[in-house]
Each structure stands twice: as structure tokens, then as C-alpha cells.
Subunit: 326 residues, 2 copies
């Protein structure tokens, strides 16, 4: 496509390049703090240490950065999209209630970033409707925080690329079969392997998975009826049958409300559930051991998308039953 | 930290900024193709349309780019890490067997990228130990391919940030309970909801989940013994009991090898499995409907990490049983 500066298509093509998100700060000639969100950052030189970013000539902050001898670039962390949004808008007091430190030349330094670079302005170059600012880095900090990413006009999170799991990816599959990239297989295997780690704890209490599901629902919110429990767990194939409920009650784990047939965890039931949940959380930690914070967040985000798109209309287990009915 | 150009720490801090990956190409004064991998790309100007990237003065390709009137920048797609690795190494014929097209000025253009920009060299600026090349974009192409990302010295994939699933994230949990961010809950709910979509197909064939697991293992590789099937599915709680196998055989879905007790899918069994797998794949498509290609790849990558870290030592279901024993 021939480049047309006004075209949405050109901006979209530029958006194909993923970047981190930065906030660049300085002080203007009157000593006021200025700052703005920029994704046009990149590294330039190691010796001397230099970075660059570019700013639209039309920016309200252009005069301040043109005259500033120092500026600071903050690489934003994955949870700093609200800060990114705030510094992307003009006309507000961007620094209100934002904790800041002071760098060389009084430059305001933000906290909670993945990295930040304090710079002396080295060059200002022509770049069409932008000015390219090249800074020599005088000080920098780095924190082990996963990065915020911008791609295709949206915020994103990143995770390392993984290797193949087994030969299943490479071998041609017989008709009616599937390979290791089949979501149903991956979800099932991950679920059952993780859940298998619970078996010892369940066995020690003489409980099985269905019992565990019933106790978990009551653990989130006590006093539900069998029908309400079924509505929450039925899609798994588990059932709160009257026999099962009677057996749990006989063992002192549940008590049933005499009038309404509602179920409550006993003190022993709550204690049992605390032990089971501790086992489940230990299994989760094992399962996520190889992940960084970002990968864990991403997996959970993506599973939520799958849960939303396959939801048969389950009640929210975390809302009180009274609210659901209202 | 005070900037020290030789320090690993400075490079690590720069690596906190995530970027896409590009390959920049041109032809040298003798008409030979040159190209290299660079993450130092960024957009500069919309009107005129301009981009920039920087190159180490020490690069073998410096002379070629210094003299080139035209160059092209290719934004690499998620599956192009092998191409990125190839163009990052010097001393090999980088273009051998790589399909290329020709752009303005004879510049070699690579295929399979997310986007590419053909440029006229507009400026070359000093940038410490690098030269900053600013190109005016004369033509560009964009393809709907997810991007390859580079962060912290490694390749990565990206996915959009997601919203909260339910009230569970915000409400304080009682002791022994868990919130919606608990991996066991998310995996279980995603698995059971997806699997519930199979129930109609299973019911139509008079089969249940355990039957389906047995048929699936035989679908991947026929002729396994009951013990071999158990080794693959036992962790799910499903069992290939003799009664179950007899029932499947009586219905003409399986046949048992008379001498060794090995099981084979009949023609009818294979046909049944093809229908079940079609239902499962339709459920997968529904479940992944809201995802772009990158998010799907990421979810699967992350599930493989979980499967690896929770693997009790299962045999690879896709390897022939003879190979497993060997």
C-alpha cells in the first residue's frame, strides 16, 4: 500500500510492532512537572549509554522538553495501565496524588515501574511531525516487574514461548483422533493432574471429589439448599444427592437447617475445608512454579475468557444466594 | 544505579522494555542483499510517514546501510523466531532458501511477516556507538498475524488484558475458601464447562466420559492392553474396568485380541470416535471464539507448562506402546 500519512491503515501497520509503554517526565522552565505517555522509546547506544523517544511537535509539552536539560523515562509494569491512561490525557493534573521522588535536575520520578532511566538531553533531531529526543543515561533502576505491553492499540501481557509437550504435535493423527494442541485435552489433562494432587488429602478425610465440591460451595457461602448447590456444581457431573448429604451430616461435617433444608458447615466441616484448601493451594504453587508473575496472570486471564465463552449460565458462586434470587 | 556502559545491569534494564522484532533489509553497493535482526525500531512521524531504527557502528552491514538509498523493515510474526535467529547471526548466507520479493530500489522483501515498510533513507543521525536511521515510508503492507515479542532477552507472545470474571475477585473470602483467581477453580471450571458441551454427543451414543477416554486413547494408538490404557487415563479417576470393556465390545465398538488381551477399535468404534471428536472440536472452536490466534497459542503454551509441572510421569499417549516399552 502506498504510504498516505492520514491513513488509518498506516497507523494500524505501525501498531503491528509491539512495544512497552513509558512515561517520560521533566520539569518546565517555571519548575512545573510535565509528563506524558509514550511508546516511541527505544535503546540506542551502550557506550555511551543512550536511549531515544519521540514527541509530536503539536504536543503541549513540546516547549518543556525542548528546553529541559534532563528527563526521565519510566518503563511501565503490567499493572500500571491506569497510570499510562492518566499520563496520556492532557488537561488534567497528571501528578495529583501520584507518589514521586526527585532525580537529577529535579526531574519527577514515578514509582512502581519495571525500570527507569534518568537522562541528560544529548540530541534533538528532526523527524517529520515529531522531534526525536536522544538522552544520555546518567542513572537507571530496574525492578523485577512484568511489563505492560501495547499492541494493535490495546494493552497486553506477555509470556515466554514454550516448547512442544510431547510427540503429539509432530505425529500425524489418525481420523477421529487429536493432537496435543487440542484444547479439550490440554484443559482436561491440566485439571485432572492438578486435582490428582488433592487425592491424598481427600482420602485422609474419607472424602471424594463430589464431597469436596459440595464443601467448597458451602465454604464460599453457607446456608444453601441442595438445589442451590446443584445449580453451582451440576455442570461438572457431580451431584449433591440426599444420600451424600446425609452421609456428610452423619460424619459431623454438615448440619441441615430443620425447616428449610438448608446446609451449613459445622466447625469440623470448616476445619476440614481449611485443610483441603491448604492442600489445593500447595498444588497450585507447585503447578505455577515455573511461571513468572506475568505468565500466571496471563494463564488465569485466558482461562477466564474460556469460562466466559463456555458458560451455560451458572450462578456466580461468590454472590450470596439471596442476591441471586433478587 | 549510575550508568556504566559495560554493565550487564544496563542491558538488563533496557531489556525491561518489550519490543517487537524486525528484520531490516537493503542491497549493498555491489547489489548484494543484506539484512539483520533489530528490535530498535519505532514509529516517528505520521505526516510525512517516518520510522526509525538504529544499528551498531561496528556492524558488518554498516557500510551497506550508510550507502543505501532504500531499505525495508519487516515486523516479524509470532512464528518467525527461526527467521529472527537466522538474521541475527553473521557469517552465514542469511537469504539462502528464503522466499523474497523485490521492492523499490531492488530491496529484498521477506514474506510471512505481520507488517513491512519500504523506506527511502531520510536521515542518518549520531547516537553514541550506533547510527539512527530514519526512513520515510513509501509503501507498506499489513497482515493479520500475531507479533513476535522480545522481552528480557527472550522471545514472548502477547495477549490482551482481560476483565474480572465475577464478584469473587473483590469479595473477601471466608477461611478455607478461595476466590475466582484460584488456579484449581479456573482449570476445573474451564474443563468441566467445555466437556459439558460433549454430553449430548456422548449421550446419543450411549457413552459416558470414561468410555470416551478409553476410545480416545485407542484412537491415538490402537492395540493397547487394559493396563496400558489405565496408565494413560488413570490419573483422571477414570478406569478401563473389565466390565466396561466387555460392554463396549458387546456393543461392537471394541474388539479384543484373543491371545494378548489387546483392544482395537472396530470400524463402528472408529466412526463413533470421529463423531465425538467433531463435537469436541466444535466445542473448542466455540470456547476459543473470542481469542485471536496469539491468545489461543498462549493459552495452550501455558497449559503445557502446567501439565509439565504437575505431570506424575504419565506415558506419552502419542508414542506407540512398543516404543514406550523399548
Amino acid at each position: 500500500m502506498t504510504a498516505n500519512p492520514d491513513s488509518r491503515a498506516f497507523r494500524d501497520a505501525l501498531g503491528s510492532f509491539a512495544t512497552g509503554v513509558t512515561i517520560v517526565t521533566a520539569t518546565d522552565a517555571e519548575g512545573r512537572d510535565v509528563g506524558l505517555t509514550a511508546s516511541s522509546f527505544n535503546s540506542v547506544s551502550l557506550d555511551p549509554p543512550m536511549i531515544l523517544w519521540s514527541l509530536a511537535r503539536s504536543s503541549q509539552s513540546m516547549a518543556a522538553f525542548r528546553e529541559a536539560a534532563h528527563f526521565a523515562v519510566h518503563i511501565l509494569a503490567a499493572d500500571q495501565d491506569p497510570l499510562s491512561n492518566r499520563f496520556a490525557k492532557s488537561g488534567t493534573d497528571k501528578f495529583a496524588d501520584v507518589p514521586i521522588e526527585r532525580g537529577e535536575g529535579g526531574v519527577p520520578l514515578l514509582t512502581g515501574c519495571s525500570a527507569r532511566f534518568e537522562c541528560r538531553t544529548a540530541y534533538q533531531y528532526e523527524g517529520g511531525d515529531h522531534i526525536i529526543f536522544v538522552g544520555e543515561v546518567t542513572r537507571f533502576d530496574r525492578y523485577e516487574r512484568p511489563p505492560l505491553i501495547f499492541h494493535g492499540g490495546r494493552y497486553a501481557l506477555a509470556a515466554r514461548k514454550a516448547q512442544a509437550l510431547s510427540a503429539g504435535g509432530a505425529i500425524e493423527q489418525p481420523a477421529g483422533s487429536f493432537g496435543e494442541d487440542f484444547l479439550g485435552y490440554l484443559l482436561g489433562r491440566a485439571h485432572f493432574q492438578l486435582y490428582a494432587r488433592m487425592q491424598a488429602s481427600l482420602g485422609a478425610h474419607g472424602l471424594d471429589a463430589w464431597d469436596h465440591f459440595i464443601l467448597s460451595v458451602l465454604g464460599i457461602g453457607d446456608g444453601r439448599s441442595i438445589a442451590e448447590i446443584e445449580a453451582v456444581i451440576g455442570y461438572t457431573g457431580a451431584h449433591a444427592t440426599p444420600e451424600r448429604v446425609r452421609s456428610l451430616a452423619a460424619r459431623g461435617i454438615l448440619s441441615a437447617d430443620p425447616d428449610g433444608g438448608r446446609l451449613w458447615l459445622t466447625e469440623q466441616g470448616r476445619k476440614t475445608l481449611v485443610e483441603l484448601t491448604a492442600a489445593a493451594k500447595a498444588a497450585e504453587e507447585d503447578a505455577l512454579g515455573a511461571f513468572d508473575e506475568n505468565e500466571t496472570a496471563l494463564l488465569k486471564h485466558l482461562l477466564k475468557h474460556v469460562i466466559r465463552s463456555t458458560d451455560p449460565g451458572l450462578p456466580d458462586p461468590w454472590l450470596a444466594t439471596a442476591e441471586q434470587g433478587a
